[in-house]
């Protein structure tokens, strides 16, 4: 049986970006890699869709960015979580847990 990679539910990309940055500052490519890594390579993010998500989060003040030098000595834009972003991550995690448990309850109903 082939192992299908899970697509992302709407609204979960923001939470995953915040979670990836909770572990430390990263550039956009690194964020995609880290999400794949922490999900055990189960979550597949369309690479281009990551950037509008990053810009939206920055506009909301949940992350901030600055240009720096990457691991291969190229100029790259690094993102980091702000204090507001940390609070938002907690809220998103709580909402997600509530939604997941309610959905499981509904699916198990006979």
């Amino acid at each position: 049986m082939s192992k299908a990679k899970a697509g992302l539910l709407q609204g979960t990309l923001d939470m995953l970006i915040l979670k990836a940055l909770f572990l430390g500052p990263l550039h956009g490519y690194g964020i995609g890699q880290r999400i794949a890594q922490i999900s055990g390579d189960e979550l597949k993010i369309e690479e281009g869709s990551l950037y509008p998500g990053l810009y939206r989060l920055e506009r909301r003040g949940w992350i901030e960015s600055e240009w720096d030098v990457s691991e291969n000595n190229q100029r790259a834009k690094f993102y980091k979580l702000t204090r507001a972003g940390r609070k938002q991550l907690i809220i998103e995690e709580q909402n997600w847990e509530r939604l997941a448990s309610a959905t499981m309850k509904a699916l198990r109903a006979s």
Binding site: G28, G48, S49, Y55, R60, G61, S70, Q74
Partner: protein
């Protein structure tokens, strides 16, 4: 404090749109280059690696346009601004009505009248917000 930087970015994006477009393009190009290097390390030829990187990225120009538009987007929650606008209208309405009936503004009734006006408008704001909110996440 977290609103300061987004506001500065918003103003900068409107004042220097070309600079923002170049910055976005540089960031997206970096991503494609990193993916290309990764593909080469997996054994692809440089041409194959670049083609695969571009394909996995998606529509480069469309992503660039989306990012530039978001960068120029208004960095405040309009619902919160609406609440501020309601309060301002309430205060103005209270002041005008007090002026119309000629009650001195230090009078206790004037304060009560303004509080009632604010409460009524706040309530209408909260009802409006409840109706705007989606039923499920």
């Amino acid at each position: 404090m977290s609103r300061v930087k987004p506001t500065v970015n918003f103003i900068h994006a409107w004042r220097h749109p070309d600079e923002i477009a170049d910055e976005v393009e540089a960031e997206l190009r970096f991503h494609v280059q990193m993916r290309t290097h990764s593909n080469i390390e997996k054994g692809m030829t440089p041409d194959e690696a670049e083609l695969a990187a571009r394909q996995s990225f998606g529509d480069f120009d469309q992503v660039k346009v989306s990012c530039c538009e978001i960068k120029r987007g208004f960095p405040f929650d309009l619902k919160r601004l609406r609440m501020g606008m309601y309060i301002a209208i309430a205060c103005l309405a209270g002041a005008v009505s007090l002026w119309a009936v000629n009650i001195p503004h230090h009078n206790v009734f004037s304060v009560l009248w303004q509080l009632v006006a604010i409460a009524v408008l706040m309530r209408s704001f909260l009802i409006g917000r409840k109706q705007d909110r989606p039923h499920s996440d």
